[in-house]
Structure formats: C-alpha cells, structure tokens
Symmetry: C2
Subunit: 339 residues, 2 copies
C-alpha cells in the first residue's frame, strides 16, 4: 500500500496514524462507564445516565477564537484545549446542565502529530477535570487552508438536566442581587482587539515581561479559561440561584440580557468590578472607551449569578469561592446599565 | 455604542448581526417540537424523545475537507452544508441511530454575511430533509486565519437508538452478503488528490466541461454527499441488516473493517463495483494504482450493507433503492480484500 499519490497531494498518512494513536490514548483517559465505544466507530456511543425524570439535552459548539494565534506565537499548544472544554462546560452550566461528553474538530493545513497530540492532551485534561468524556472528534488535514503550523479547533459539548432543574432566569425580579465570580483573564474573548493593541500598536512580543501583569504577554494571554463548575455545583444542587450568565464575547452588556425577563434590567456598579490588571493595561494601551471595553472583554468577572436577597446567605455558604456583589436587578427592558 | 476599536481589529459587528439574523430564521425552519430553545441561549436545549427503553446517544463530528475549495472556486456556498449534514447523518445511521439535532461551527477570516447565510441555508436544508433540527452553532470571525473569502466548517450531530437496536456488526459471519448503494460522486473525500489531478496536473478549471462526466468539473465536484437515511430507514426498522459501513476517507479498505468481527474478512469483486465516471476519470488522469484509488475514494459505492443470505429477499424488498451485490464475508482477520 503506497498511498504515494495521496501523500503527493499533501495528505500525510504517517503523521495521521501517529496522531490517531496518541488521541486514542488521551481520549481513553477520559472515559466514564457510560462510554460504550469511543474513537474508531463511525459515531461515538454514550449510554444515557438513568435517574432523569424528564431529561433535557443541552448542547453547545464553540471555538477559542484568535487565542490560537498566541498558541502559535509561543509554540504552547497544550492549554487551548482546556480553554475550549471549560468554555463549553460553562455554556451549559448556566442552564443547570451536567456535561456528559465532548467531541472536537481540528482543522489544519499540514498535520503535525506532536501539535495535534498537545492540543488533544488539553482537551482530555479539561474533560477529566470536569468529570466527563472526550468520545470522538475529527482531525482534518486540508492542504492550502491554514498557514504553516496553524490550525483551528472547535468543540461540541452535550450535557443533561432534568426539566424541573433547568435554569432559565424566568423568575428574576427587581431587587434580586447580581454577583460576579472572578475570571482568570481574557478567557477566550477579545483576542483580535487585544493582539492588535499589544502586538501591532505597543510592539510587544509574547516574550515581553509586563510589570503590571507580573508575567510575560504570552503567559497572560494563554491563561486558561476557567471552568466555574467546581465553584457552582453545590449551588445548582441546592437550587438557590435564579440565573447564571457566562461572560463571553459581548461582555456584561450582551451576555447578562440573555437570561433576563423582558421587564427587568440589571444595574452594574462599575466601582464594584474588580477589574483585572490585564484589562486596565489593554484599556489604557488601546485607549478603549469604557462601554466598548465592557462589551468586548469580561473585565475580570467570568460568571454572573443572580440571586434573591433571601437566598444570599445560603448562596454565599454554598459556593466554593467568594463572589463580588456587582449590582442589582431593577424594573426595565431586558438590558444592562453600567453605573 | 461605537465598537470602533473592535471593528478596527478586523471584527465586523454589522455583518455579524446580519448573519445572525439570517441564521436564526434558517435554523427555526428546522425546529421540531423537541427543540426547547434554539440559538441565542448559552446552550441549546432539546427534550429527549420518549419511548426509548435503554437510550444510547450516538454522536459524530465532521467537516467537508477541501471540497470547500471547490465552493470557493465556484462561489457556490449553499450545497456544502448539505454535504456536511448528510455525512454526519450517515455516520450515525450505520449504528442504527436516528438523528435528533445538529450544531455547526463556521470559522472565517473576514465575515461575509451572504456567504455565511448560504452555508447555513445548506445546513438547514440538510436537516429538514433528514427530519431533524439545527439547534445551535458558532460563527467565529478570526482575522488573519483564513484567506479572503475562505472559511472552514465543522458539524456535530447527536442521534439516539435503543440499545437493543444498536447496529455493531458483531453478528457478521462467513457467508453473509456484501451489498453496496451508489454514491453521488466524491461525496466529501479525496478532494486534495482530486483537485491536484484535475486542477494542477490536467490544468482544468471548475468551468471546464468534461464529456465523460456530462458536466463541468465544478458541477461534478460539488455534487451533494447523499444521505442514505431515506433508503435504509425501512431496513433499520425491520432489523434485517447485520452491519452498515459509510464509505468515507479510507474507502472500502479502511471503512468496512470498522464493523467486522476479528475472525472474518470481506472479499469485494471489483468487477461488480459500478465505478462512477468521475473515478475512472481521476484514476486515469492521475495514474492512481487501483488499491490506492480504493483507499482514497468511494469509487461509486457510498454505503455498504452486510446481510445474511436468508434475509436477502426481505432486505431487497425493504430498501428504497436497488443495491449491488459486491462480494461476501469469508473467514479471515478483519480486513477487506479486493478481487
């Protein structure tokens, strides 16, 4: 079997075989008993867990955007996978769902098995840390599509929640409190603007050490998107939050409204927001207007919880990390106001 | 709200809004009653259908490879989405699963709302034709990632099957018959080699009319990857096939073994394969060795069914299209031999 012509066309069978072998091992490290078959079968099979009265599947697909460019610039490929998994976990966590399994897509121009293995090791680590399984994926070698050494990744998560435990935000009323949990940095949003400011305008490199950050630009920009599942799990089990919003692209202004009923708004006291140094650095460096900064970046708060004042003590007693009181719910029109 | 800086960084908010609005309408056209919320919420919610005793979820992720280059060359973007959906449907159909919902990922350098709308219209059409729902997706604008006018797409499918109806191939024994269903052309595999032969070596363009194909190169190369669900649904309901293999990248040689028990092999009579003109054209034009051709291309058979001789009449009576008898199962080692 030569596959000579196929290799001529830019498709590298040996590297593919090497990558597949590494991926299989990494994926297997994430398997729970519900995984019936993993990689290799046409579709990956997962036995639905028992005990759900009216099971709702909650799914989301996502990428990590141009954070990947920082991976390319630093040659560090084993953390973006965790960012992708945690992003997806948070996106279904806010609806009360428990993650069941994950599938990935990796598109690349010329496949380098070592890079793919590093990426998948991050995906597998993210899955293990959140207690669920990487059961399948597609690795596409597409000559002429991506620049040398570059790739794109997408992730797909499936989770489950009983209909009675779905978090939708529908019971949010004026007087409810708005709490925020700290982010680890940019997470996976705003990188096109951040890279433009830092690399194009400030002429820094990933190796540049920045005093106010206490680390290099590369280290700051690769900080792993946090999973809020370990922090919020006890709260979800006790049913004491009315709504959760994952602060991704669009910041407070676009993400909090996704869970607000039409007749209420949220007021955020900007003085209460513990803005992370990286956002001060970007806002000053790029002369970004405040409102735009709050639409592009998370500014230091990656997850918002809306809680009735009567549940405040139970909420603060249950969460595994102290949140910040950012503001409150008021009569309104489903929007967010920065005060 | 200016978003001036974000736009400076190459992210185009207006085009994004236009695309999102179009996508919402297209996705809504696919919703079944099980879709609880679609695009807009953090995760997309889907109510698990009732009536499954021991439900197994079957999922797969895929892309369409460098078939996309043909979409770029022709400017026709509304069919690759159908290819992607049908590819995914076939990948879970072979395990007996019924598709429930689909999510997509579209990565692009500079977002053009019209192109994204065309791509998603193909996804939505594919979902409608297979009776399931496009419930979510991610559209990532990544300046500097993709060439002008180019993009990559990935799809994620979730299906369901009762454990007792899972198709695994485990009961395949020597003497079983191997039947093939015709493909519509390249489907979504072998495009890197096919493009190299036709565009680089034969110096044809997508507009070139080729007599033996009866159409232009562009028309041939964009033919839609078939869904075999309408053809095979009656067979699955009657439980009269032992195994199904979707012939994708790797052809007969890599895909049929995925369902074979260790102690059997499959013998394919090449004289029985109704090789489509496009494959003769590529094999001759590219001087491809036979065995390599059968590993890269589907050669005219996109779906293989393995059936006990005692079920032959029931099988032929139930399928909605006449298949071709390609060969048989023999004692062996889990491989495919071309005779």
């Amino acid at each position: 079997m030569s596959n000579s012509r196929y290799r001529d066309a830019g498709v590298n069978i040996d590297e593919q075989d090497k990558a597949i072998s590494a991926i299989k091992k990494l994926a297997a490290s994430t398997f729970t008993l519900n995984v019936i078959t993993g990689l290799g079968s046409f579709g990956a099979m997962y036995q639905l867990p028992a005990g759900y009265k009216n099971p709702i599947l909650v799914s989301s697909s996502d990428g990590v955007g141009t954070k990947l460019k920082v991976a390319f610039m630093t040659g560090i490929h084993d953390t973006v996978g965790q960012c992708l998994v945690n992003h997806c976990v948070n996106d279904i966590l806010v609806q009360g769902a428990r993650p069941l399994y994950f599938l990935d897509y990796i598109g690349t121009g010329k496949l380098a098995a070592g890079t793919v293995e590093a990426v998948v090791s991050g995906l597998a680590k993210g899955c293990r840390e959140n207690g669920f399984s990487l059961i399948g994926g597609e690795m596409a070698e597409m000559p002429g599509f991506y620049a040398e050494g570059e790739y794109d990744i997408a992730g797909f998560i499936t989770g489950i929640v009983d209909k009675s435990r779905l978090l939708t935000g529908k019971d949010i009323v004026p007087g409810d409190e708005v709490w925020g949990f700290v982010s680890s940095g940019l997470h996976t949003n705003g990188y096109s603007l951040a890279r433009k400011i830092v690399f194009d305008e400030m002429k820094l490199t990933v190796e540049s050490y920045v005093d106010v950050l206490g680390c290099t630009v590369g280290e700051e920009f690769l900080k792993i998107h946090r999973s809020y599942r370990p922090i919020l799990l006890p709260v979800l089990e006790k049913n004491i939050v009315k709504g959760l919003a994952h602060i991704t692209g669009g910041g407070f202004l676009d993400n909090i409204p996704r869970i607000l009923p039409d007749a209420v708004s949220v007021e955020i006291q900007m003085k209460n927001v513990p803005v992370l140094p990286v956002f001060d650095f970007l806002v000053k460096g790029g002369k970004i207007e405040t409102e735009e900064a709050y639409r592009v970046f998370n500014m230091g708060m990656g997850m918002i919880a809306i809680v009735s004042p009567k549940n405040r003590d139970a909420f603060l007693g249950a969460v595994a990390e102290r949140p910040v009181l950012l503001g409150q719910v008021v009569p309104g029109d489903g929007t967010v106001r920065l005060l």
